[in-house]
Every structure is written in C-alpha cells, then in structure tokens.
C-alpha cells in the first residue's frame, strides 16, 4: 500500500517569502499526485494535480508543484506567499488500477503567513 510523508507539520513565513512544502510518497508504480488546500473555515479543495506529461504542474493562486519520479517527490512551491495563503496543505497520491478511486493523504502542513 502506498503512503505519503509531508516533512513539515507547521511552517511560518513572512509575506513575500518563498514557499516549498515537501511531499514524498512510497509506491513503485505509476501514480497520480494531488495537492489539496483547506483555508480557515472552508472546504478542502483541489490546488493542483499531476497525472502525466510535464512534471511541472501549475495550479491556482500561483502555486506549482514538480513531480520528480526518481525522488518519489511532489513538492509544492510558490515564489511569493501572501497572508491569504494561510491554510492547511495536504498532499495525496492515487495508484491507478485496482482501487483506482482511493486517495492516500499525508498528515498535512499548516502554513501561517505573517503580514
């Protein structure tokens, strides 16, 4: 079974700082990768996803993530964070095939952006 590790439990940044949140997964086969975000008081929503093709994917609000197959990683980045990016970020992996609907989530990283 696959698993997902998010290295940072809580990240605190000042506005305009650059962001990189780590995500590593354990699964040897083809994977689909996701980052979800939950803003305070809101539903969990999809930030970006990778299925195939260009390993650098761009999502909403200036976020991007890079799939590095050799490192089993899918790190989330943003060049300059804003106070409104304060949220919890969850990385998830799906292994196509049997149980193709199942998402396995990491424990999440809480991002606090200080104005």
């Amino acid at each position: 079974a696959q698993s997902v590790s998010q290295h940072n439990h809580h990240v605190i940044l000042s506005e305009a700082a650059s962001l990189e949140l780590g995500c590593n997964y354990s699964y040897g086969g083809t994977v689909n990768l996701f980052w979800y975000v939950q803003y305070p008081g809101q539903h969990l929503q999809l930030l970006l996803k990778y299925f195939s093709g260009d390993p650098l994917v761009k999502g909403i609000k200036g976020f991007e993530a890079e799939f590095i197959k050799s490192k089993f990683s899918f790190n989330l980045r943003k060049p300059s964070v804003q106070w409104s990016d304060t949220a919890e970020y969850l990385c998830a992996v799906n292994a196509p095939g049997a149980g193709s609907y199942q998402l396995t989530f990491g424990k999440g990283t809480k991002l606090s952006v200080i104005p």
Partner: protein, 116 residues
C-alpha cells in the same frame, strides 16, 4: 449547484451512544467517499460507494462503523457504541465517477465528532 453538504457540522456525544452522520453529495455524482481525520493524522479512507455496486468497506476501522447510501444519493455513516478514539472530523467527498485521474473528488465541510 450546491457542493457536498454534511450534517451536523458538530456533534458531541457520550461514550457508548450511537451517532449518525449525513452526507448529501453533489447532484449527479455517482461516487461517494467517507474519510476520517483524527488529531495529528492524515485523512483516512473509510468507505466508498459507486452507483449501485457493492461498497468498498475496506477502510472501516471496526464493525461498529457502517454506512449506507440510499437511492444512490444521500449517505449515512453510523457509529455504534462510540468510543473516545472515534473523536475526529469525518469528511465526505463525491465525484462524477470513480476514476480519480479524470474525476476530481469534491469535499464537504465535515462533521466534527467529539466523544466524551
């Protein structure tokens, strides 16, 4: 239209009582999922419904947990004889179909269950 709706948003119960959590998926979504998020843990898959097919119950942690989906729409997650370790946020999600690669899961706001 409306998103995934869950009720109640918060539920406080006494140990040993039964609770029912409700999920109303997005209209037209055939796939429905229940997850649980315990303190300090990631989202844990519980159960999955797809149309009229038999549900995948492989994630249910014990036989005190059960779920049903009536008429292919609303789902109810039931926890019998609740225990303190059942305290968590229970999230429901729905998608147009089961293939995650093509059908994004949309989440509800969750039900925060506290067992005293």
């Amino acid at each position: 239209g409306a998103g995934v709706s869950q009720s109640p948003s918060n539920k406080v119960t006494e140990k040993g009582k039964d609770v029912e959590l409700r999920c109303d998926p997005i209209s037209g979504h055939t796939a429905l999922y229940w997850y649980r998020q315990s303190l300090g843990q990631g989202l844990e898959f519980l159960i999955y419904f797809q149309g009229n097919s038999a549900p995948d119950k492989s994630g249910l942690p014990s036989d005190r947990f059960s779920a049903e989906r009536t008429g292919g729409s609303v789902s109810t997650l039931t926890i019998q004889r609740t225990q303190q370790e059942d305290s968590a946020v229970y999230l429901c999600a729905s998608s147009l179909a089961q293939n995650v690669a093509k059908n994004i899961q949309y989440f509800g706001a969750g039900t925060r269950l506290s067992v005293l």
